[in-house]
């Protein structure tokens, strides 16, 4: 291969280092006016009255919008259309927008916000999942299971409890993973404007222009064909720009009313309150193990703190258990999950979407299992790895698995065998693994259309233009697409012009989330490029007087042996022969084998795998943790551009480490006179701690190539999976260093100190949640695994015994 696998400057690299990448807030259009949103100061309240007269009269104000202007709800998932662009009567978290002011400049709009008079009737805020379970009233939403329980799920893939009870060893552990937020350095921004022909265009820092497009049509009650959404390059996404945002809808409405461009850029505090980040999850793992270290069954219960709205929460809830089966052989599995509403900013997907939390628990529990069984944690895992081309208990089809090589690589490079459990007190090594999706098997809106489309246009100059809805969020999706097309056509990737993330110009790609772009848009790009390649081959073959299959494409030339044409010459011949040259390609994932209700979350065309070893140094006097080095190996299938792939792995390590050690999206209750409002403890970049260049350890990064037949050139994802093993590997390293278990994230010095004090007193050397509350999980859906006679469907309860 000429392009794939070669380290290269990304195709948009020059723009990024010259400041020429145009982010949403860099747009300034003639006659542009500015929007600011008024947000609720109450965590939970009803709006009794809202008077905008003074704001409207303020000099320089053009428009004030309120909930009355937005009668239609929206939401990213079809089952949770539970948000209003501006809340008409019920506010559910501090920061819920209630009005929008459009003025000549930001300053004037901000002044006018103070002139809006809102009378609220405060309701009791629900702060925690325990409160949400205990207090069905006041209800945050009128829908959901009951009270403040948004969603309950229960599945039984084989009788796990029976298998666990019959095991040589039973492990029961409770873990907590605190919520945290994406913190992209670019704050969300958008500009809405009417085109010369009266249609609406929205430029927005979004990862999902297709879903924003759909939501605008719904909320504005306009035909979607009259709306164009352009995703500007995102200044970091990490999942934080995958939801439809209130400000996008309000800016669009204002542009329609005023007939002039309307811009908004959220400030940093607003970004913290918009959130949609990592769900706080409490988890209980009950796992059975044979004396030689094989898993017999696992029963996982999760309790998910959803915040004030649905967002992606139903999917996130499924993901707190969907992928526990794809790393290690697990013959029986029971999974119960609950998501509750609380009066805090809504949670949603952050890098790893719902899976880092249970991965944290699972990988620490395996460390405990290894210790009890007196086995090496790496050997324990290697002996129980899931098999390639296999089905899991919950009916996921696994293709390639490079996890064995990942584990062996980090074990060797970290000198694990000579150093684990052998380092001096205060220093330790920890190992953990993870797995992630390469795109979800099913789209958010179920339909039979492709999940990704690519269109190519060939100009007679030899220039190739690629059109695709995929969104460049910094991860390098334009570069992946250009690389794939240029590999097929034998040209230089810098010859490919990418037009991406524009619903008015590009075929639909569902967006940059769930690590789907390389695999899905990549396959669509291959298909389109191959169509063009065969036309070019046919035309060139005529000219060179050989059979088309003997024509080769490389280095910008189309050749047969020593006879060759330039790529542009071949294009001219093909255009003369076939007419204007273009081609489309599309991608739909293979059908998932699971047929039960709920089988839609978890299937993927391929799974990526990662193993990680963390070295930790813990000061026993202060609990201070330093991380000198991290070794990581990621099974990427095939590397498209090693420079970018390494960047994705290392960025994931950074983000996982930052979550493990310090990041937390946490709230405090204000006093009763301030309606006990739940406010963010640290909505600023200074106080919300994240790792800087000074704390970042040395990273040893290895890409493992085990090509997957479903990936383009065998490629799998690399943007999210490598985050997953980092937090549990940190926890396991701290145990190796000082012998204390911190069963919750973040792992801060005070927790380490508390655990060390307990250890000194002879108590269990552990800090973490002590109990798992009673959650009214329903009767599980019974889905027998394939090896117990199942066919992928649920069985009726009275038939269940017969099947097993």
């Amino acid at each position: 291969m000429n392009v794939v696998g070669k380290p290269r400057r990304r195709v948009d690299g020059r723009a990024k280092v010259t400041g020429q990448t145009r982010f949403a807030d860099d747009f300034a259009l003639p006659r542009m006016v500015h929007l600011k949103l008024l947000r609720s100061p109450h965590a939970h309240a009803l709006i009794e009255s809202l008077d905008v007269a003074r704001a409207q009269a303020h000099p320089g104000v053009h428009l004030v919008l309120t909930g009355k202007d937005f009668p239609v709800t929206f939401g990213i998932l079809p089952v949770t259309q539970d948000e209003y662009a501006l809340a008409p009567e019920h506010v559910r978290y501090v920061g819920d927008p209630v009005a929008g002011v459009v003025a000549r400049d930001e300053q004037t709009a901000t002044e006018a916000l103070d002139l809006i008079e809102v009378r609220y009737r405060p309701l009791e805020p629900i702060a925690t999942p325990e409160e949400a379970l205990a207090k069905p009233e006041p209800r945050i939403h009128a829908y959901g299971e009951r009270g403040n329980i948004h969603r309950l799920q229960a599945f039984q893939f084989g009788d796990a409890d029976a298998a666990i009870a019959a095991s040589d060893h039973v492990f029961e552990d409770i873990f907590f993973y605190e919520g945290n937020t994406h913190l992209p350095i670019e704050q969300h921004a958008c500009v809405a404007a009417l085109d010369a022909d009266g249609k609406l265009t929205l430029w927005s820092s979004t990862q999902v222009p297709h879903y924003v497009h759909r939501a605008l049509a719904r909320v504005l009650r306009m035909p979607a064909s009259q709306i164009r959404v352009i995703a500007t390059p995102n200044g970091g996404g990490f999942g934080g720009k995958t939801d439809i945002c209130n400000h996008e809808l309000v800016a669009a409405k204002a542009a329609l009313v005023l007939g002039r461009p309307v811009k908004i850029c959220l400030n940093r505090e607003e970004v913290f309150y918009m959130h949609r980040g990592r769900h706080p999850v409490l988890m209980k793992f009950r796992t059975g193990v044979t004396k030689d270290g094989k898993l017999t069954g696992m029963h996982l219960q999760t309790l998910v703190d959803g915040g004030a709205y649905g967002s992606y929460g139903v999917a996130s809830t499924f993901y707190t258990g969907a992928l526990q089966t794809v790393t290690y052989e697990l013959p029986r599995y029971q999974f119960e999950a609950a998501r509750v509403f609380t009066n805090k900013p809504p949670c949603g997907p952050k890098r790893g979407h719902g899976t880092p939390q249970p991965r944290y628990g699972q990988e620490i529990q395996l460390d405990k299992i290894a210790e009890r069984l007196d086995k090496d944690p790496a050997e324990l895992r290697l002996a129980m790895l899931a098999k390639p081309n296999s089905l899991t208990a919950n009916w996921l089809r696994i293709g390639s698995i490079g996890l064995e090589q990942c584990i062996k690589t980090v074990v060797e490079r970290s000198d694990w065998k000579n150093r684990y459990r052998k380092l001096p007190q205060g220093r330790g090594l920890g190992l953990a693994c993870g797995a992630y999706l390469c795109g979800a098997g099913l789209p958010i809106y179920w339909n039979k259309m492709p999940q990704s489309g690519v269109q190519l246009l060939l100009d007679r100059s030899g220039q190739v233009t690629l059109f695709c809805g995929a969104t460049e969020i910094g991860q390098g999706s334009d570069d992946v697409l250009a690389a794939i097309v240029s590999e097929v056509l034998g040209i230089d990737p810098y010859e490919v012009r990418c037009v991406t993330g524009d619903t008015g110009m590009t075929p639909v790609d569902l967006g940059s989330y769930s690590s789907r772009v390389t695999l899905m848009a990549g396959n669509a790009a291959i298909q389109a490029a191959q169509k063009l390649k065969s036309m070019l081959a046919e035309a060139a073959a005529e000219d060179l007087e050989v059979a088309p299959e003997r024509i080769s494409f490389a280095n910008g030339r189309v050749s047969f042996e020593s006879h060759s044409l330039t790529f542009a010459e071949a294009v001219v011949l093909a255009e003369a022969k076939f007419g204007t040259l273009g081609a489309v390609g599309s991608y739909s994932p293979p059908r998932a084998p699971g047929k039960y209700k709920g089988a839609g979350v978890g299937p993927s065309p391929a799974y990526s795998y990662t193993a990680c070893v963390v070295e930790a140094q813990v000061d026993p006097r202060t609990g201070w943790i330093t991380i000198p080095k991290i070794w990581i190996a990621h099974d990427i299938g095939r590397t498209i551009n090693p420079v970018l792939a390494r960047g994705q792995v290392e960025g994931s390590v950074y983000m996982g480490l930052s979550e493990a050690l310090m990041e937390e999206q946490v709230f405090r209750r204000l006093p009763p006179k301030l309606s006990r409002a739940l406010v963010h403890k640290m909505p600023s970049l200074l106080e919300y701690k994240s790792i800087t260049s000074l704390e970042m350890p040395e990273m040893d990064t290895v890409l493992i190539e085990d090509p997957d037949p479903n990936g383009p050139f065998g490629a799998k994802e690399v943007g999210q999976g490598p985050l997953l093993p980092v937090p549990p590997a940190v926890a396991n390293a701290i145990y190796d260093a000082v012998g204390v278990r911190i069963d919750e994230i973040p792992i801060t010095p005070d927790k380490v100190m508390r655990a060390l004090e307990k250890k000194a007193k002879g108590e269990a050397p552990r800090v973490g949640p002590e109990r798992f509350p009673d959650v009214p999980y329903p009767q599980p859906l019974i889905v027998p695994p394939a090896w117990e006679g199942g066919d992928g469907s649920e069985v009726k309860r009275h038939d269940a015994a017969a099947v097993v």
């Binding site: 010259t18 807030d25 350095i185 670019e186 390059p233 960025g651 260049s693 990273m699």
Partner: protein, 161 residues
């Protein structure tokens, strides 16, 4: 509020403009002079995205009033390239993956440029210290540190030539 006259040098060119006196240098660069290469992530001096050089020193342009810059030399990312040719630091950043989303990149480039003006061949730990006020959420910093080292090498090579 009445606008005030401001004369300063931006990327080696004399600029005269009239600005609202409360505006920060960041706002004047982006909104009045159209130099949107300088980014903002917090406007509170916390993230480093808005770093520019004022008389050669890295400063957070969100914390500097534009009027304080009267007669001073400002350098932004737009001033780094020589004609169409990238500055060696820019080229190294593009080649080595130091810019992912690219949002923190202008601030880090200028911070690095100021560092290399003081210390032409800094160690990795000196580089990490110099950019510790610039937050990057994409890279994990390692490729940035390597690109600054590589930029320093390329600048050295240029000087030798």
């Amino acid at each position: 509020m009445r606008h005030a006259q401001l004369a300063l040098s931006v990327n080696g060119e004399a600029v005269e403009t009239s600005v609202a006196p409360y505006k920060t240098l960041l706002e004047v660069l982006r909104e009045d002079l159209g130099l949107t290469g300088t980014k903002h992530g917090c406007e509170l001096g916390e993230c480093g995205a808005c770093a520019v050089l004022i008389d050669g020193e890295p400063q957070l342009s969100c914390l500097v009033l534009a009027l304080e810059c009267e007669a001073r030399e400002i350098e932004t990312v737009e001033g780094m390239a020589r004609g169409a040719q990238l500055h060696p630091l820019q080229a190294a950043f593009a080649d080595l993956g130091a810019a992912q989303c690219g949002y923190c990149t202008p601030g880090i480039l200028l911070t690095a440029k100021a560092l290399l003006a003081r210390e032409p061949r800094p160690t990795p730990s000196r580089i990490k210290e110099a950019i510790s006020g610039n937050l990057c959420r994409c890279t994990g910093y390692q490729q940035i540190v390597e690109a600054i080292e590589e930029g320093a090498r390329r600048m050295d090579d240029e000087r030798r030539r």
